[in-house]
Amino acid sequence: MNCRVPHEYRYALDAIGTISGQQGHPFVLLNLPELEEEMSLRGFGGEVPSLTASAIWIEPIRHSINEDLLEITSRLCNEGLLSIVASLPLSRLLPDNTCWTRSAIGTRLTGSGELTQSIAQHGFTIQQIFGIHTARSIGLNGLGRIMERVGRNDMADRFLARSKELYCSDQLDRQFSTVALICARKTGLRR
C-alpha cells in the first residue's frame, strides 16, 4: 500500500469517483505528484478529450490559482462538474501531511474563503462542500489512543469505529477538518 498518502486524500478521490464517475474521463489538474499512483489506481488521468464533462483539481496552490482555474475553465464544458480537493489548516497538525502542503491555499486560515471566491469569479457555482477527517473524528481517535494506553482496547476499538462514522461531514463542522472536497458546477460568468 502507498502509505505515504494520507487516508483523507484517498477517501476524497473515492468520493469523487462516485460523484463524477458516470461523466466520462475527467480532466485532472494535479498539484500533488505524490498522488499520481492513487489517481492512476482510480482511473483518473491520462489522455482525455479537449473538452470534458468533469474535472478534478487537486490541491490548489496560492500562486497559481488563477492560471489553474483558467485552464480548468477552458477544458470543462458548460454545466461540467469540478471536484476540488484542498488541504485545510488542520492538516498542518498531522505529521504525515505537512511536508507536501505548505504552499496549498487551503492551509491558510483565510485560504478557504479565497478559494471559494476565486472559483465563483471564474464562473463556478459551489454545490456542496465536505470536510474530510473532521475534528470530531480526530478527537475520537485520540480518545481511542488514551483507552489503549489504559488497557481498554475494547473501548479503543469502539472509538475508532465511531470516528470512522464521523470522518466526513457536510455540516458546519466541515471547516474543522484536514481536507475539503468542494463540488462546483461551471455555470458561466453572470454579469
Partner: protein, 466 residues
C-alpha cells in the same frame, strides 16, 4: 493421529516435484452428523450461482464490509483473498464430481489473477477492504496459494497451461514476499519493513504460499530459509499458559510490542500453516500449537454457533459484528484439525453459516455490525450484516466444497432479496438481484451498484464510510 502424511514422508515430497500434485486436492473430512450431504450440495450450487452474478470484467467484484474498514465506493474486481476460496472451491468440485465446468470456472478465476498481475509482480486491486490499492496482505499470498493449487491441478490433468499460474505465483512470491517483505534481520515475512510489523495470520498465508511453491518447484530453500522461520514467529505470538487464553495468538506486533487482541477468524487462518510446519518437520510443537489455537477458538463459541470477533486480554469481547460467511475459515480449521481432535461446536458453527444463506444464494456477512461503534443493536440488521461479499463467501464456498457428494450438484438460481435494514441509525431498504445491489431510504435511492461496474452509480455520503 490418523490419516495424516507422516512428517518425513511429506518432507521427501518437497524434494520430488512429481509429488506436487498433492497440492491440487484437499482431503475429504467428516461432516457433523446432523448435516446431510444434499444440504451441502444445494448450498454450494446456490453459492456458485450467486458468485456468477458477482463476476464481471476482470474478476469478482462488489462492495466489501470488514472489521477494519468498509469499501462501498470501489466495486470492481478485487484480486485478493477471495480467489483463495473461489479457486480452491472450484478445484474441489472438479475433483469430487469430475465435472469439467468446475475446472473451467477455476481456470477463468486464475485468468483473472494473471490478467491483473502488474509488471512488478503485484496484483491490481489486492487491497480488499482498502481497495483500490496494491500490495494487499495477506491477499497477494492468498492469490499465490490459489494459483499454485490451480497449476498443480492442471499439471495433474496433463494440461500444459499449468505453467502460467505457476509462473504468476512464483513472480509474486519472489518480488513481493522475498524481495520486499522478507525481514532478514528478524528472519520472517513482515507486514511492511519500516515499522517492523508482523501479523501472524498474514505470515501464515505467506508461509502457505512459500510451501506450495516449494512443493511444486522442489526448491526446499523456500521452506527452510523462509517459511519455517516465519512460522516460528507465529509461535512466539501464541499464549501458552494455564488460562482460558491458552492457544490464543496475538493479532500483531510492532517491533517487540505485541498487540494483545485475539481474533478467532485470524487465529483459525494460522492453523493450516502450523499443520504444514508439523508435516514438514515432524516437530510436535507445531501440532500442539495448532490444537491449542483451535481449543481457544472452541472455548469462545456460543450455543448458536456465533463467535466474538475480538477477544481482549481482560476477557471482554467485541460481538459487533459477529461473522457468518467468514466462519468458513474457522470451519476449515475444524476440518484440518479433526485427525487430532474433534470439537462438538463444529456443528453449531456450520449451522450458523448455512442459516446465513438467503434468496440470493450468497451468505450474509455478519450480525450486529452496528454495535461495532458502541451502539446497541436495533431490531433490524445492519446493511453490512446483510451484504454478500465475494471475499467472505469464498471462505464458506471453499469449506462447503470439501463436503459435496460425488453426484452432480443440483441446479440453482439466485432470487431477489429484499430486507429492511439499518445503517448509521437510519432505516433503509436493502435489495439485491442478479443485476444490482440497491439501498434506498424513504424511497430515495442512496446506493446503487450495477453488478460488473467498478464504481457504484449512486453512493450517498453515508456510503463513503471507510
Amino acid at each position: 493421529m490418523i490419516q495424516q502424511t507422516a512428517p518425513h514422508q511429506r518432507r521427501e515430497q518437497i524434494d520430488d516435484p512429481r509429488m506436487a500434485n498433492t497440492l491440487a486436492t484437499e482431503p475429504d473430512s467428516k461432516l457433523p452428523s446432523s448435516i446431510e450431504r444434499r444440504t451441502i450440495n444445494l448450498a454450494v450450487a446456490r453459492l456458485d450461482a450467486w458468485l456468477e452474478t458477482m463476476h464481471g470484467p476482470g474478476g469478482y467484484g462488489g462492495p466489501v464490509c470488514h472489521w477494519w474498514q468498509q469499501c462501498f465506493t470501489y466495486t470492481g474486481a478485487g484480486l485478493d483473498w477471495r480467489y483463495e476460496g473461489i479457486i480452491t472451491g472450484y478445484l474441489n468440485l472438479w475433483q469430487r464430481t469430475g465435472e469439467s465446468r468446475w475446472r473451467e470456472r477455476a481456470i477463468r478465476a486464475g485468468q483473472d489473477l494473471i490478467g491483473g498481475q502488474q509488471s512488478d509482480g503485484t496484483f491490481a486491486f489486492s487491497g480488499f477492504e482498502m481497495n483500490p490499492a496494491r500490495m494487499g496482505t495477506p491477499h497477494e499470498a492468498a492469490c499465490d496459494v490459489a494459483l499454485l493449487r490451480l497449476a498443480s491441478a492442471l499439471r495433474q490433468d496433463g494440461n500444459e497451461s499449468w505453467m502460467m499460474p505457476f509462473n504468476a505465483a512464483g513472480q509474486n512470491i519472489r518480488h513481493v514476499y522475498l524481495e520486499r517483505l522478507w525481514d532478514e534481520e528478524r528472519q520472517r515475512i513482515s507486514d511492511g519493513k519500516p515499522d517492523a510489523s508482523f501479523v501472524p495470520n498474514k505470515a501464515a498465508t505467506a508461509s502457505n504460499a512459500l510451501i506450495s511453491l516449494a512443493t511444486m518447484s522442489g526448491d526446499a530453500e523456500l521452506i527452510d530459509r523462509y517459511a519455517i522461520p516465519t512460522i516460528n514467529h507465529i509461535l512466539d505470538h501464541q499464549i501458552r499458559a494455564d488460562s482460558p487464553f491458552d492457544g490464543a495468538i496475538a493479532q500483531n506486533s510492532f517491533g517487540s510490542q505485541q498487540i494483545d487482541k485475539y481474533f478467532p477468524i485470524y487465529i483459525a487462518r494460522c492453523i493450516p500453516a502450523l499443520l504444514e510446519a508439523w508435516s514438514l518437520t515432524g516437530s510436535e510443537r507445531y501440532i500442539d500449537a495448532a490444537v491449542a489455537a483451535m481449543r481457544f477458538i472452541d472455548r469462545w463459541v456460543v450455543d448458536d454457533g456465533s463467535i466474538p470477533t475480538v477477544v481482549y486480554p481482560d476477557g471482554r469481547t467485541s460481538t459487533g459484528p459477529m461473522w457468518i460467511a467468514p466462519l468458513g475459515d474457522i470451519l476449515l480449521a475444524f476440518d484440518l484439525i479433526s485427525p487430532f481432535e474433534t470439537f462438538a461446536t463444529h456443528e453449531a458453527v456450520l449451522s450458523r453459516m448455512l442459516n446465513g444463506q438467503d434468496e440470493t444464494g450468497g451468505i450474509q456477512t455478519a450480525t450486529k455490525f452496528e454495535c461495532q461503534s458502541g451502539w446497541k443493536a436495533s431490531e433490524l440488521p445492519d446493511v453490512r450484516d446483510l451484504l454478500h461479499v465475494a471475499g467472505w463467501c469464498d471462505k464458506a464456498f471453499r469449506y462447503l466444497s470439501r463436503h459435496v457428494s460425488e453426484d452432480p450438484l443440483p441446479s440453482a438460481s439466485p432470487s431477489e432479496f429484499v430486507r429492511s435494514a439499518t445503517f448509521l441509525r437510519d432505516e433503509y431498504l436493502f435489495r439485491e438481484t442478479c443485476e444490482r445491489v440497491e439501498i434506498t431510504k424513504e424511497d430515495e435511492l442512496r446506493y446503487l451498484w450495477v453488478k460488473g461496474e467498478a464504481h457504484p452509480q449512486v453512493a450517498a455520503k453515508e456510503f463513503w464510510i471507510r
